[in-house]
Each structure stands twice: as C-alpha cells, then as structure tokens.
C-alpha cells in the first residue's frame, strides 16, 4: 500500500468519502434542511469532478484486479458529471423528500459500483461492481415511497435483475470452468471458439443486453421507468446505460476478441431487433416516461451499432455519442421532471400547448428532442453520423439501411412530440413554470452541451487519443 493506491483509485475513494460523510450526517442528524444537504452534495461532486480531472493515470492495483487508465477516468468523469446534472434537475423532488440522505447514499453507491465495474480487471471485481450498482438501483426505483407503482417497478426490477445476474454468473462460471481463471488477462487468451465458450459468451452477453435494455431483454425497462421517480429514471436511462456501454467497450470487447466473428453476428441480430421493435413501441406510448424508455432503447441500439465495429475509432464514436446522448436526454428529463414535480403531469397529452406559457423551456425541450432525433445543428446529428459511419465500416450495409430507415421512423414520434408542444391547442396548458436556479442550471448546461459539442471535433480526437494511450 503506497501512494499509488490513492492516486489510481481516487474517483472511487472520493465517492466512498462522500458516502461516509453522508452517513455521518444522517446518523448525527447534523443537517436539518434538505436544501443544505443538496448543496453539500453538489459541492462535493464538483470537487469530485476536479479530483478526477487531476488523476488521468494508467496503472493497476491488487495484482490486476483494479485497472486505471486515462480513458477509464474520462468515462468516470462523464458518469459523475451526468449524476451531478441529474441532482440539479431533480432539485425540487429532492428538496421535498423525507429520506434524502439515504437517496444520496444509494445513488452514489450505485455510481461507485459502476466505476468499479469500469475499472475491473477480473470477473469477480466486475460482478461485485455490477451487483453494487444494480441492487442499489432497485432500492432507488422504490423511492417514491407512497406510490404503489414505484414499489411494483422496484419488485420487477429486482426480480429480473437477479434473474439476469444469475444467468450471467452461470456464464462466468462456465468461463472459469474452461480456463481456470477469472482474470481478464488470462481469459483473453484462453477463450477459443468451443461450444462451451460460446454459450458462456451468450450468457454473459445477455446480462449486458439486459442492463442496456436491448430487445428482447428489454421488457423491464418501460415498467420500471414509468414507476420510478424521474431522477432515478434519468439515472437509469443515462448513467446506468452509459456505464454498461463503457464496460462493454473497454472490458468485454477485448475479452471476447477471439470470438469477434460470433458476437458480431449476435450484435447485428440484437441491433436490428432493438431499433425496430423499440421504435414500434415508442410510437404508441402515451406516458412521457414510457416514451422516453423506448426512445432510450432505440438510442442504445444505435450505440451497439458502433460497438459492433470493434475498432478504436468506432468505440471512440460510441463514447462521443454517449456524451451527446447524456446532454440530450438529460435536457429532456430536466423539463419533464420540472413539469412532473411541479404539476404532477406525465402524460403526453399534457404537453399540448406547452409553448404558450413556457416558451424558453419549450425551446430547450425541442432542442433536446432534435438532438435525440439527430437533426442538425443539434449535437445528436453529429453523434449519429459518427455512429453510423463507424458501423458502416463493418460492411454490413443491410443493417445500416435498416438503421437509417428506423431513424426516419423515430423522427415521426419525436416530431409528433414537438408538434404537441408548439402547435396543438390545449384548454388548460401548463402554467408558467418556475423550477428554480438549479434546474435552470441543469437545462442550460444541457443546451450548451447540445449546441457546442457537435461543432468541436477536438473532443472526438481527444477520446481517440485516450484510447490509443
């Protein structure tokens, strides 16, 4: 144990520190007002971002169990920034919650689990991180304590997530059985194309597909998103998904590199199913959260498209897209959560005539939706271009054509949403919202992100450089 330990594991240690501070505050009941607690956590997160920025290091700890790379640090940075935006945007909900400290402890633990997952160098470590992330998430889904739907969603989530973990664990044990090790380094070389390994790959993969909610492992998504508090939905659809994609890129792809020819086909099938079926479902949703659930499934499908290429450019573009997706989706969530928290309205039809009283918020929402739909000049357009071109490098043009057709279909429901906001009449449109400084901060961050990121090619180059290092 030397200074390396602190240097390399700084992102995680900082989160643990925050958790402990929160625990002490909770037990000692030091902070009576929620607003103070919110501010404390926000400041700690800003410090955390600073700390991560300082430690873009390469190295490993615990004999290769924990790996730190600059690209991992960058990914953690994205996750932490996203979480901070979520804290900001759900300010109103947080302020009135009775068990705020627990909420924070759980959500930060989940984040911690994800960070360990990203940095893991061993299946054991990886599995611990995964469970830490998903069990706390299930508890978080239940956090609208008086709502029945919330409990139902949490129940579904914990059951299905235990189910998928079990299958994944089975797959891991098969790998252990064939190679006698859980170390990624060892496994990387010993995995070969025998049937046992293929089954193991599919089992492990299904666990990932479940987390990223790819069709046909996606069924939990809509119900859980609908039942969960909006901040948790945002966390699930952005942070949790981003973490799994990161793990996929930096852990799973190199690990199963020997079986690339197989999981390439696997992915192609899954992608085709995901974008098509989720699109079809998204068209007929009436609840905003369910709508966003399906829309996020479609977006995940597009991310998988880039991953299927399995080269560093494609993977960089996946990470680049994640950043854009984070801003766009959180931009939508910021407005949706403001409306839900203040007026308790979550149906699509409630958004008719939103523009009348809330022009600025409507524009922010519209911009975010444009970005999700991939309409220039919003950043989503550039992100999609990168994804699709890197997907095209595999030479699978049928899939690309399908993806493009689905882009058009998704345009339909995104634009229908925008039409509701700007054109359709409503007898009782949503009144003027005053969501407060924190939400405005979140919204303006997202809007700036959407407007700026697409035009700064340097970000993409920066990510590519991190990959090479």
């Amino acid at each position: 144990m030397n200074l390396d330990f602190f240097r390399l594991m700084l992102p995680e240690l900082f989160l643990i520190l925050i958790i402990f501070i929160l625990l002490i505050i909770k037990i000692g009941d030091f902070v009576k007002q929620n607003t103070y607690l919110i501010n404390i956590v926000n400041i700690l997160f800003v410090l955390n971002i600073g700390a991560i920025l300082l430690c873009f290091n390469n190295g490993e700890l615990f004999s290769g169990m924990y790996i730190s790379k600059s690209i991992f640090s960058f990914e953690k940075l994205i996750l932490v920034c996203g979480s901070l935006i979520i804290f900001l945007l759900s300010h109103h909900w947080l302020k009135n919650h009775k068990h705020l400290a627990e909420f924070y402890i759980l959500i930060i633990s989940s984040l911690l689990g994800m960070e360990y997952m990203i940095s893991s160098g061993n299946f054991l470590m990886f599995y611990l991180g995964l469970e830490l992330a998903s069990i706390t998430l299930a508890a978080l889904v239940n956090f609208d304590l008086e709502k029945k739907k919330s409990s139902e969603a949490a129940m579904k989530m914990i059951l299905l997530s235990a189910f998928s973990s079990g299958i994944m664990l089975f797959g891991i044990s098969l790998l252990y059985g064939t190679s006698g090790s859980l170390d990624f380094d060892v496994l990387k070389n010993s995995i070969s194309a025998n049937k046992l390994n293929i089954v193991a790959l599919i089992f492990v993969f299904s666990g990932f597909a479940f987390k990223i909610s790819a069709v046909p492992f996606h069924f939990w998504t809509a119900d859980v998103y609908e039942g969960a508090p909006i901040s948790v939905t945002a966390f699930l659809s952005v942070i949790s998904k981003a973490a799994v994609v990161f793990v996929f890129i930096s852990v799973l792809s190199p690990l199963f590199n020997n079986l690339y020819f197989l999981w390439n086909y696997l992915l192609i099938g899954i992608i085709a199913l995901t974008i098509t079926i989720a699109n079809i479902f998204a068209i007929r949703q009436h609840n905003v959260k369910r709508f966003l659930a399906f829309s996020s499934i479609v977006q995940a499908g597009y991310i998988l498209l880039a991953i299927s290429a399995n080269n560093s450019i494609a993977q960089s573009s996946a990470i680049y897209f994640i950043i854009i997706y984070l801003f766009s989706n959180l931009g939508v969530f910021a407005v949706v959560s403001a409306i839900s928290d203040l007026y308790n309205k979550e149906e699509m039809k409630d958004y008719r005539g939103l523009y009348k009283n809330n022009p600025m918020l409507s524009w922010a929402l519209a911009l975010s939706i444009f970005s999700l739909a991939g309409i220039p000049p919003a950043a989503g357009f550039f992100g999609k271009i990168f994804l699709i071109t890197s997907g095209a490098f595999t030479g699978n043009y049928a899939l690309i054509a399908l993806a493009v057709i689905n882009l058009v279909i998704s345009l339909y429901y995104y634009l229908m949403f925008i039409k509701k906001i700007f054109i359709e009449e409503n007898e009782y449109p949503i009144e003027k919202l005053k969501p407060g400084l924190n939400v405005y901060l979140a919204i303006s961050t997202c809007v700036c992100g959407i407007l700026i990121i697409g035009f700064i090619g340097e970000i993409f180059e920066f990510i590519t450089r991190l990959f090479v290092n």
Partner: protein
C-alpha cells in the same frame, strides 16, 4: 500563378480585416436578434456607426495593401492572412474559413463598405417612420456581412456559403414590403432563379475540387494553371466532347450569371426593384449583382490559361446580355426598371470584358478594364438609384408619366442625376468614360465583332439614360413653386459623396494596381481612339434631347412606325412569357403532374401501408409487453435459448 514570395502582413491589418467581417455581423445580431423593441429608435445610428467603422477599416486595409505590404518584387500578392480549417473531408479537401486579400478583394471591400455606408445613411432619411426599420437595418447589416465575407473568402466553398447568404439577404430585402403581393412574388422569383444558377455553381465547385483536389483558391488556381497531373486529368476527362475543366468553369459561370443577371437568367433583377430603393442601389446595382463578375475574376487565371472555351462563353454571354438589356431599357417606363436593365447591360460590359481578356501585362487589358468599370459603375449606379429614390420619394410613383419638369423643384437631385447620367453615358471627364473607354479598347484589340456590338450598346446607353433624365426632369414645363424640400442631410451627404466619386473615380490608376497578374502595365491611351465612343455617346444624348426635351409627338410617331418591333422590345422580348410557358406548360404538365400522381398514389400509398402495417403489427405485439414479470422472464430465457441454438449450430 502562385507567388511564393509572401509579403509580411502587419499585425493590425489582420485584426482590421477580421473586424471588417465581425462588425456588420454584430450589428446584425444586435438589431436582428436581441432586444425586440429596445433599439428601435437607434437602429439607424447603430447600423451607420458599425458601417462607418467598417468602411474606415476597409479603407485602411486597402491603403496599407496598396502602398505598404501588398507588393513584393513589384507584384501584388495574393495573401492568405487568416485561415481556420472548419470541416475536412479528406487530407486534401477541407472547407476553410479564411481571409484572402489581393487587389480585387481589397478593392471590393472598399466598394462594398462605402456603398453600404452611403445606403445606410440614405436609408435613415428614406425609410424614416417605417415600422420595421430595425429589421430593415439588421437585413442591411446581414447583407453587408455576407458580401464582405464573399469577397474575402479564401476557399471556394466558403465563397459558396456567403454566396447563399447574400442570396438570402437579397431575398429578405426584396420582400421587405411583404404586404405587397408583387414584392413577395419578386422575392420568390429572385430566390428561385438564382437557386437554379447556384445549383450549377455547386456542381461546378464539386467538379473543380474533384480535379484539383483542393477547395482553396490559391492552390486550385495554382494546380489548374500549370502543367500538373491535376491539370492533365481535368483536361483529359471529358463529357460530350468538352473537357471536365471547361464544364466546371462553365457551370461556375452559370452561378455567376445567375447572380449577375446575365441572359437568360436576368429575369429576376427587374422584378427585384420591388424592394426599397436604397436596397436596389446597394444590392441590385452596386454590389451583389457584380458577384458574378467577381467570381470569374477570382478564378480568372484558370479561365484565361486553361479553358479558352469557357472564356468564350463568358465573353459572348456578356456582350449579348449587354446589347439585349440596353434595347429593353430604351422602352421601359418604370424608372427603376430602366435602371435595372441598364445595370444588366453594364454588368454585361464587365463580363464580356473579362471574357476577351488574356492574362499578363497588356494582354490583361480586359481584366483591368472590367474591374475598373465595376468600380466606377458601383459609384454612378448607386448614385442613379439613390437619385431615383429621391424622385420616387417626392412623387410617390415609379412611372415616367407621373414625372417631368422636376428640375426646378428638385435642383439638387437634378444635378446629381445629370452627373451620373453623363458618367454612365461615357462623357469625359466623368468616371464612366475612362472605364468604358478601357473596355472598348480591350475589345478592339481582341475581337472586332464584340467591339462594334459594344459600341452600339454604348450608344443605346447614352440614349436611354438621357431619355430617362429628360423624362424625369424636363419633358413638361417645370412647376414654379418649390412644394416641399427634397431631403435632409441624410439624403444630401450620400448623394454628394457619390456624385463626387462619379466624377473623379476615373482618375484612379487601375492599370497600376489591379491587373491580371499583379504587375503594373502601361495602358496606352489614344485620344483618337476615344473620339469614336465619345461621338457615339454624344449622338445618343442628342437624339434623346431631340425626342424628349419637351412634350411632342415624335416618340409616338417613331413607335407607331416600328409598331410590333417596339412592342416586342417593350415586352422584354417575351422572355418572362417564355419562362412561364416552359414552367407551366412544359414542366408542370409533363413532369410535375405525373410526379404528383406517383407521389400521391404510389409513394403516399406505400407510406400509408407502412404506417398501417406498423400499427397493426404493434397492436399484435403489444400483448408481449404485458406488465407480467413471469412473462418477461419467459421471453428472456426463450431468447437466450434461441440464440444459443442458433450460434452453437452456426459454429459447426
């Protein structure tokens, strides 16, 4: 013609030239986007101030360029003073945003910012009391920004971007009186016609950049004028017997012809006179319409050295349009339309003058003359339009029949108008004489047919301009009393400045500063040669004096003698009708209607089928999303089993 010796650019010139672009844009943003009602009363001040600074900076850049750093070894350099890569397509081809200064761009920024400044000032008087004055000024600023960006562009594509921006601002300003249906129609017409031309421009750019592997002006010109592989490839590739390079240059010229209203794409310009008169002065007389001339001049080495065919197209389009428009101008009765056709005719002069020019020294006479005429024309034509604006402001009509005898009531306007008419007719020592004389001299040296056609056009020019002048200011007995004042200082300052320049701009030694190869040459000025043009112009003036000095029936007699001929010309050779016939009878009925049918029945049908199928399918599968956890787990495990079966079998 790349010049490897790069001159040292002073730091402040770089800053100035960036500011030249930034200031009008800021003023556009300030007036157009921020503060819906805040600056209403100050919009004129803001616009004029920013334009004044822009003009001063442009003048300083020009001064420094011509007298300080522009020359290296007695040759004016093309200097790329700023470059930022914006989008890169491949290693070679990228769209840059840059600033390229050379004699013509420096001259153009001075012209654009000066005329724009004059128009800004004049508008404070002309548009006074207009409700949307703020919008008006913001559009003017947008236009000036785009035009300056166009002339400073260092890259073909950058130029194209600004080219389109210029088109947009022209569209906005023509349709400024959007409650007038004619204005809206004219705006649409201008937009659509130039859009067709721009399509040609774009294709030309793509071909050119494909063969030169660059979008950058300096590199493109260099590669396509020397014996390089790029040049050989572009010459070797051919389509219908014409080399790719010629195609590219002709297509690019089509874009230029659209903006510069060359036949047969000239039809939008007369209609564009529906916009406010100061706008016509700025956009449709002095600056935007010469963009086509500027474009050809910018790529001139490629035209002159590499494609004789394309250059001929340029020359004959120019001379034909020039003559054609001058004929029409003789018969029009709307004073702004007369000026519009006169503009087309004069731009024709600049274009054919480029078309007959060679490159280097005395051979480049036409190039120099063209630029010279562009410069002087901007001054006197802006003056003519602003003067016409003053008349229209006074009379509240565009028609000649409502005018006449205004020389007593509008003495100042009368004087300015007379100066401008003398200048455009080519009477020494007014500026138009010198530039037109250079053009005619260049034509004499290269092509006698063009020379005589041009001479005849010059005669027509003198005739119709003085017809206009006499019809406005003489014709009937002047009214005695001065009913109301002509205008305030905001009107007098621009007119006097422009009048001053219309008189003296001819003494600028263009053969020393703006030449095809950057080197000064001795232009041979023979007074004996210029006697003929002067005589022709004077004849034209005398004929109009005879016909239009006072009210008489001579014009009526003439027009009844020539009957149908005059009618044809008055109806602009039925070109508009031809367009309408082609679009409505041919394109609409033969192409549009069938495509509409296909669209309605086949495409829409397919979309509807897809939509219905999607709906039905989603009805069918909605049961899967049952909300039942056991079912979800069931689907999970089935999917897993299916995958395992497929993949383990696929392996063997």
């Amino acid at each position: 013609m790349i010049l490897n010796i790069t001159a040292v650019v002073p730091e402040n010139v770089i800053i100035f030239s960036k500011l030249i672009l930034v200031l009008p844009f800021l003023s556009f943003l300030l007036l157009g986007i921020t503060g819906i009602s805040k600056f209403k009363n100050y919009s004129g001040i803001i616009g004029i101030t920013s334009m004044l600074i822009t003009f001063v900076l442009s003048a300083m850049v020009a001064f420094k360029y011509f007298f300080n750093f522009g020359k290296a070894e007695d040759v004016f350099q093309k200097i790329l003073i700023y470059k930022k890569e914006w989008l890169s397509f491949s290693e070679n081809i990228s769209i840059d945003m840059g600033i390229l200064i050379d004699p013509i761009s420096v001259m153009m920024i001075v012209v654009v910012s000066f005329v724009s400044l004059m128009v800004h000032i004049y508008s404070a008087w002309y548009m006074k009391g207009d409700k949307r004055i703020k919008v008006y000024y913001s559009f003017l600023s947008l236009f000036t920004f785009s035009m300056l960006g166009l002339v400073l562009a260092s890259n073909l594509f950058q130029m194209y971007v600004f080219w389109e921006l210029v088109g947009v601002s022209s569209f906005l300003l023509i349709g400024y009186y959007y409650d007038k249906p004619q204005a809206v129609a004219a705006a649409k017409k201008a937009f659509i016609v130039t859009r067709f031309a721009d399509l040609g421009f774009l294709i030309g750019i793509l071909i050119l950049s494909y063969y030169s592997q660059s979008l950058d002006f300096i590199t493109t010109i260099d590669r396509l004028t020397s014996e390089s592989e790029f040049y050989n490839n572009s010459i070797a590739a051919s389509f219908i017997g014409i080399s790719a390079l010629t195609w590219a240059l002709v297509l690019i010229f089509v874009g230029g012809a659209g903006k510069s209203a060359m036949f047969p794409l000239h039809i939008w310009l007369p209609d564009a006179m529906e916009g406010p008169t100061p706008v016509s002065a700025l956009i449709h007389a002095a600056t935007m319409v010469v963009a086509g001339v500027f474009l050809v001049a910018r790529l001139f080495p490629v035209y002159a050295l590499s494609s004789y065919g394309a250059l001929n197209v340029v020359a004959f389009t120019g001379i034909f349009t020039s003559l054609f428009a001058a004929l029409i101008a003789c018969t029009q009765t709307d004073i702004k339309r007369v000026l519009a056709y006169s503009t087309i005719s004069q731009i024709g002069f600049m274009i054919f003058s480029l078309g007959i020019s060679g490159i280097g020294g005395e051979n480049g006479h036409g190039y120099m003359a063209s630029m010279f005429h562009l410069f002087t024309h901007a001054m006197f034509k802006a003056l003519l339009f602003l003067g016409a604006g003053a008349v229209i402001h006074y009379i509240h009509s565009n028609e000649m029949k409502d005018m006449g005898g205004l020389r007593k009531t509008m003495p100042f306007t009368n004087l300015c108008f007379l100066v401008a008419c003398l200048a455009i007719a080519g009477i020494p020592p007014f500026s138009g004489f010198f530039s037109k004389e250079e053009i005619l001299a260049a034509a004499w040296q290269s092509n006698k047919t063009i020379f005589f056609a041009a001479l005849f056009t010059a005669f027509l020019t003198a005739f119709y301009m003085f017809r206009l002048y006499f019809k406005i200011f003489w014709y009937i007995e002047p009214l005695k009393a001065k009913a109301k004042s002509e205008g305030n200082l905001y009107m007098i300052i621009p007119l006097s400045l422009l009048a001053f320049l219309s008189i003296f701009a001819g003494f600028v030694p263009f053969n020393k500063i703006i030449t095809s190869d950057g080197k000064a040459f001795e232009s041979s000025f023979h007074f004996t040669f210029s006697l003929l043009p002067i005589a022709v112009a004077v004849t034209g003036i005398l004929i109009s004096l005879y016909l239009f000095k006072s009210k008489n029936n001579k014009p009526a007699i003439i027009s009844s003698t020539f009957g149908s001929l005059i009618k044809t010309v008055r109806n602009k050779f039925y070109i508009d009708e031809l367009y309408i016939f082609i679009t409505q009878k041919v394109i609409f009925s033969l192409i549009s209607k069938p495509s509409t049918w296909i669209d309605k029945n086949i495409v829409d049908g397919a979309v509807n089928i897809t939509g219905n199928a999607t709906q039905t399918f989603s009805e069918k599968i909605k049961k899967i999303q049952s909300g039942n956890t056991q079912n979800y787990a069931f689907w999970y495990i089935s999917a897993l089993i299916i995958l395992i079966v497929i993949f383990t079998y696929m392996y063997y």
